[in-house]
Symmetry: C2
């Protein structure tokens, strides 16, 4: 399609969406970016209903600007005892090392898909933008959001996914290049070889779709914003560059890793069951970043959580998901508003 | 570094290098691109000494413009009988299906690294540009090339490789994004998780290096050329978009696959022993694109060659390396000069 920026569609000044990053940010980062003229995002996948209401209340009280509320829409898996036991067995040596017991593993996955209950909670807030990861929820739920005037975004990692989303009426598609940090938004395939660099994915989506395409993955400085626009993007979604901002809740070990010597990231399913990009750490190195014996998303999280907590208490990032994209050069420990202004400079 | 195009460095009109593509082109494609004002490339890795001299003679007779001569500079491996036998055993069912015998496997790898003999052959031609894949050959050989005024290029797939090449005095680095077709130029690591999309790799190289950086991978239309320049590239290297040109020697099955329905490419080591990007075909699907039991580069080629020949004789691409990048949208069956002009339009 012809190049129309997302500014009008989303009623924002700058065509920059701060990527929702569950676990490393709450409403404070979203507020800062929205106030700076971009679109701040609240990641809700890991929030309890109470936490979600609190975060939304804080957002509403702190900004009159538009913001984005992000949800996962995976299908909750049926637990598989055999895979769970194999997974726990592979982690057992680490439990022993850290003086932990497998009995410490809590029930529950910690990540809820978007459902009718979530929709009901949103009713009081009626956010102007809702974005989804892993496809879209049931059509009736999306229709209800639309009836509020809410704009719907979702991520595509292949041209097929982008076309699928357009067919279902999303207002814009986020083309998530392989460079992006965090979870791959893939939902029509589990084959990682289908995942494409942004230079290949973005122009193909722009050519094939008649709705705006937002570029994500590896965008870490003003030149990259201009390059994405040159490729036809209507806006950009930036995550990694915000991770060191004071408004982010990025943990100390995560901040250290972002500034550290480990040169590269990898896709790993060890932390959740789905492939996500993070800085290579001990557990990824020792088990291999992509395991076969890993429970389905999001069940894998439960057994690694005690290891993570114990290690982080010793200032170790050995078992932490250190989500980051392939270009960390934009990470700066400065206010999110400054990052937002800088990206457009 | 500041944005200086490669035009002056390489004495060309357009900052476009036609990617050397062994097996699918000879001098004809290189001549067409050089005559159109870009830098045509002759891939020499699979040429016998006679064929190399013939191709260079044809180049010299057909154009007075600069051209690039490309070599691999891998270390030839010591054959491992056990791995070779496991590899042949995994291919045996296909041999049976096609009525072939494992005795049909020819000796020899078919790919020679650049060495003193190659240098001696080049002496009569003294090409203005030589590019390498998989690092650089011995320093003495490179020094000899330099003494002729030849400019030296090589590919980097990580920032570390780019810095390594700059330290050794190359004139420009080709930043090969993960989107690129054909062999990954990686040489300091075998870990595929280090491989980066162009959006992440290119700006990091541009920021860190003081020599020009040429962008490669997924560049398939004029917008992508502009985007690469916006990211600081001094030029672009384009391969896939030239594959359907009449001047290319791309096989019929390869041309068909490029125009066909299979939506995606993958990295595979089945055809040579090193990871290279090609369109997914039967042998990649059935054996998995990346095998453990594959002989070291370039020895894997020998055992798959008879299968390829027999299948291609039946117009089947089941065992052919269908090299292609992640963006095939630029492939057009038009003269290479037109592709070259179009990319700069």
């Amino acid at each position: 399609m012809s190049k129309i920026l997302i500014n009008d569609l989303l009623a924002i000044d700058k065509p920059i969406i701060q990527a929702p990053m569950a676990g490393v940010q709450g409403s404070e980062l979203a507020i800062a970016v929205s106030e700076a003229g971009g679109l701040g995002s609240l990641p809700c996948a890991m929030l309890t209903p109470e936490a979600l209401v609190n975060a939304l209340t804080q957002l509403c009280e702190s900004t009159t600007k538009p913001y984005n509320v992000n949800f996962f829409c995976h299908t909750s898996p049926i637990p598989n005892l055999e895979i769970e036991q194999r997974w726990q067995a592979s982690l057992k040596p680490y439990y022993d090392q850290l003086g932990l017991s497998l009995n410490d593993i809590a029930d529950g996955s910690g990540r809820r898909p978007f459902d009718a209950d979530t929709l009901a909670l949103l009713n009081d807030f009626r956010p102007s933008v809702v974005s989804f990861h892993f496809g879209l929820p049931d059509e009736a739920l999306v229709d209800q959001l639309r009836s509020w005037g809410t704009k719907i975004l979702s991520s595509a990692t292949t041209l097929e996914e982008a076309l699928w989303l357009e067919e279902r009426g999303v207002d814009a598609v986020i083309a998530q290049g392989l460079e992006a940090g965090g979870h791959r938004g893939m939902f029509l395939t589990e084959d990682l070889s289908t995942q494409s660099g942004l230079f290949a994915l973005l122009p193909q989506c722009v050519d094939a779709l008649s709705i705006p395409v937002i570029a994500a993955g590896g965008i870490a400085n003003p030149k990259a914003v201009k390059a994405a626009m040159a490729l036809g993007a209507a806006g950009v979604q930036v995550g990694t560059s915000y991770l060191l901002c004071p408004e982010a809740t990025t943990s100390a070990v995560h901040r250290q890793a972002l500034s550290g010597a480990e040169p590269h990231t990898a896709l790993t399913n060890l932390f959740s069951g789905r492939p996500a990009r993070g800085i290579v750490n001990r557990v990824m190195r020792e088990l291999g970043p992509l395991g076969d014996a890993v429970p389905a998303f999001p069940l894998a999280t439960a057994a690694i959580a005690p290891l993570r907590a114990a290690a982080e208490a010793q200032s170790s990032s050995d078992f932490s998901p250190l989500w980051a994209g392939q270009n960390r050069s934009g990470c700066q420990a400065i206010p999110a508003a400054e990052i937002t202004h800088w990206l457009m400079s």
